[in-house]
Symmetry: C2
Subunit: 438 residues, 2 copies
Amino acid sequence: MSEPIRIGLLGLGTVGQGLVRLLKHNRGEYVRRLGRPLIVTHAFARDLARKRDCDLTGIKVVNDPHFITREAPVDVVVELLGGLSPARELILEALARGKPVVTANKALLAEDGNTLFAAAKQKGVAIGFEASVAGGIPIIRVLREGLAGNRIEGLAGIINGTCNYILTQMAERGVDFSVALAEAQAQGFAEANPALDVDGIDAAHKLTILASLAFGIPLSYPGVATEGIREVTARDIQLARELGYRIKPLSIAKRSGGRIELRVHPTLVPEDHLLAKVDGILNSVIVQSDAVGQTGYYGKGAGGDATASAVVADLLEIARELGAHARFQAHPLGYDPAAVQPQPLLPMREVECAHYLRLRVADTPGVLKAITSILAELEISIEAILQKEPKGKEDAMVAIITSVVAEHRFATALEKLLVLKFVRPGSTHLRVEHFNGK
Amino acid sequence: MSEPIRIGLLGLGTVGQGLVRLLKHNRGEYVRRLGRPLIVTHAFARDLARKRDCDLTGIKVVNDPHFITREAPVDVVVELLGGLSPARELILEALARGKPVVTANKALLAEDGNTLFAAAKQKGVAIGFEASVAGGIPIIRVLREGLAGNRIEGLAGIINGTCNYILTQMAERGVDFSVALAEAQAQGFAEANPALDVDGIDAAHKLTILASLAFGIPLSYPGVATEGIREVTARDIQLARELGYRIKPLSIAKRSGGRIELRVHPTLVPEDHLLAKVDGILNSVIVQSDAVGQTGYYGKGAGGDATASAVVADLLEIARELGAHARFQAHPLGYDPAAVQPQPLLPMREVECAHYLRLRVADTPGVLKAITSILAELEISIEAILQKEPKGKEDAMVAIITSVVAEHRFATALEKLLVLKFVRPGSTHLRVEHFNGK
């Protein structure tokens, strides 16, 4: 058997410990694949004394991360610290020294991936990031290589397990957001500070990465229109269900004419679409391509072992190509870096989609007529409508699914509707996605 | 822009024409990925005069296939002839001359892939076959690389679109097999001679390939236990539905102790499982792995363009690695050829699964008692039971879902049941798959 591949590991948290366990547990399988073992020889941990759920025998654990990137005799560096700093500096340091890097850091990639990719290219070394999106699903390789024969038209995914778990709980048990969030926190499916997840930021980071792979564009995180799930109510989930939809935390990237849409928001999905059936912490991505049409992928999005296995997929590829000239390696985004050019983004106000609108109304005659007249005036058709009598303390409701309409035109309609004298505070609206070949 | 990659194409049928069209249509995308164009310079067709649905300008079309493999100045050979011969000889000829090969030929791979892989290894050239299974879904790369961090425990898939289409039609419209088959043939979803599809042979070929990738074993086509869908009736589909199942044409590969199960047969799948919702000509594969658990993949399984796009995925990878030393290339099965060792197969009689059993019975007292006694005697539990009164010309029926039981034990029970005096001819049984983590 040949020399082992020596790994320098930055971070011994959940994923880092998962990686150490997995490398030990599946050592034989990796040797069968690679012809040589993958072993962690050095690891950085902030707190050396902390008890860890993995066997650190044979690993030199240090509390200076720069020792890993500057001095340790390793073949590849794995960054599992998360966050922007010092991960950024450490990755750049490793790349500058000609060491390939594997990272799961979606925030850093989304916000500064262009710099990292340029640094990797300059030294002709690889940077792997399969673990950064939908840990258990090899969606990076699917986009970068599996579907490379296609021009990808768009993709839509459930790529934040916390949001999907919360919305699933709300749907199954009729509880409101705050209750479902508190429970998700108690069960470890949501952080104490849940903002990164429930405000859509984590999903926007991941969408940024998927869009760059799908379209061959630089990472464009500031271009993602992002809305979280805090405003979704159990009432809306129920009404959506009566209309034949589920509410899912979708991330959407689409070509639209010569421009690109990037958006993250809770979305009504037809109940018979496969995305409507992906519940709990599961992730799923569907991709629309010119030659194969729609393909779909689902699996666990997070968890130490799932994410660690994605890190290993990168390690196996990088180890195999170690020593090969850079021109033989896959480009990080699957496109020749010279061809990775920005494309104009479609401003949110020009985005076209169907909308769900729930109006809380007084129970007086003429309500429907007034609402439908305003929509008709703006040439917005009604695809479905549901009227609910007042019940107990609850006002009467009108729930509508509109035709596909530009965001600014829907906003105009909304403005006019909300000032009608019988419309009461507490109305709401959400976007709808029908996946009909776009 | 660098020199183009010159492709020698064997076969100008549906997929071949799709490939020529796609290479033209997405030329710009491929140049963005590869830095150089992919062009077909030479093609072999049996009938030069036939009209084709693609632009052959610039392609030298010949009617001697050996011209492509022996003389044409091409960088890579694409084999889209199908069938065992002359595809086998042509591929070996190309490999022997150091030309990488891309093939969609599942029958040849399943039956003689070990020879092809050995020939490719001997010359240090690549052989790509993403197009051989589930054309539109990049399942080969998923198993070979995406999930390489996992030890794969098993997989189950709908990998024959014709069978899935026929069973879907039978389910949706209550028609019997022969009617659905005739319609599928009229619509071009089934061949005039449908045996390869409906008898499960095509699926067995594909399962052979998936199993080798999943477990790192040689291609073992003779080891696949294969049953087609001809015996499935609309009645069974209806009864299965009442019991909460759909009948799907599944191909299953599983580790079972130190042995491996390989089987193709119509199977009852719980209605809430994602595989139960994959209808029509769609394909889908779910994979059970140790680190990520269950992941799933779906998309179009066939069609000229979908399959052609999988060929292009291989061409892009092979073109990128052209000139690199063989040690930097991915192994065809993802495992070091030296580590690809046969594993014992589990004989069908030892396979354990749940069963669906439909007995046609006389409408006399004591029927259920006699049936349940026989099952109890053999320690086979009943998970669900459905009794149907006689209706019109139809006898009374008893439909049962058993617990998980070894095939030979179920067969013993069946023997005893079928000789009961109130059991009439026309009873049937099918296997059931519950996907509970195995």
